[in-house]
Point group: C2
């Protein structure tokens, strides 16, 4: 049970845990209340409905997670340095938050229309700068002329996928948790290798 902190904060933390683990449909208000150590009526006192609580939690998770991902892109490094830096910090972030991507992807696919409005303003801006910088280096002949979207997608895919597919991969490769963690750690050098080898002239 979550102790100390304000009731509202305890509800939010409990709700995050339960929603991330079970998803919206699998989450139970009673379980959230129990985890927060309060009465179920308190959830409605503070958040009115399961829907309202969920959107609060989703927005909170999403707006904490996406900027953390994108912020590396505003520094004054070269494209190559940025990619290396990004992949390393992104995988590190995922190591501490392994269940967030699948949660976001699943909820987004369950209810795309409604959730799109929740994410719209949080995703577009940060990539622009990086896109322009890449175009510059392409013009200079430093990197190959590849569709920007494909590069971003590949980087994210290679970072995120092992976390969303962990149970399947562990089963396929018969690996225990320890060796899987090593497998992930190794990707901090493998993924930049793969990407840079591909885009560099």
């Amino acid at each position: 049970m979550i102790e100390d902190k304000s009731t509202e904060q305890r509800i939010i933390e409990a709700a995050k845990q339960v929603f991330i683990e079970k998803g919206y449909d699998g989450a139970r208000m009673q379980e959230i209340a129990d985890l927060a150590g309060i009465n179920k009526a308190m959830l409605h006192y503070y958040f009115r409905s399961k829907d309202k609580l969920f959107f609060t939690i989703f927005d909170d998770i999403f707006s904490r997670f996406m900027p953390a991902v994108q912020k590396g892109f505003t520094s004054n490094m070269s494209v190559e340095e940025k990619i290396k830096f990004f992949i390393n910090s992104y995988i590190t972030l995922l190591q501490s938050n392994p269940y967030i991507p699948l949660f976001i992807l699943h909820e987004l696919s369950r209810n795309p229309e409604e959730l799109k409005t929740h994410i719209h303003d949080k995703v577009t801006s940060n990539f622009k700068i990086f896109q322009e910088q890449m175009q510059l280096e392409i013009n200079q002949g430093l990197i190959k002329p590849i569709d920007f979207r494909q590069i971003v997608t590949n980087i994210i895919a290679l970072c995120v996928f092992p976390f969303v597919a962990r149970p399947l991969l562990q089963e396929v490769f018969s690996s225990d948790n320890e060796s899987f963690d090593k497998f992930i750690e190794a990707r901090k050098t493998i993924v930049p290798d793969l990407i840079l080898n591909w885009i560099k002239m």
Copy 2:
């Protein structure tokens, strides 16, 4: 509503549709019955419980989907040819079944212990042959000595991720369905490029 075919087959098809779209927790027996055009009691007459129906559907989906993925690996092509062939047919398969991967990944993460037993025998075998062949080509100095698991993971990641992250990617890249389909189509050459460029000596 699904017509013709035996009742059992109609239930299975309806259940597939609903479970894939909504997930186990979001699926309703009534919705499956309606879609199959039958009484709700029939679901229980044929499958006893939601759990039993779900496992039937899951096993069916999983055992149709995984072998289709792996079978390309038993031919007598070179590693390079196999990779090209695999990526192409895998992405094509995903274009016709775009929602299956997220369904499998979500259910596997919701209930890993129980579902692991359902998939165990269906995943391990087919990769072995490919792994040995790769080791051979590594020894011959044709391809770089890279952890086999990393190669497989990267290939699958690059194929699957755009499908599981589609709503997010479309939002980030502001792309309509048509341009997203083109984006996917382009990956049939981009992904082999990326992988082969990386592993070839």
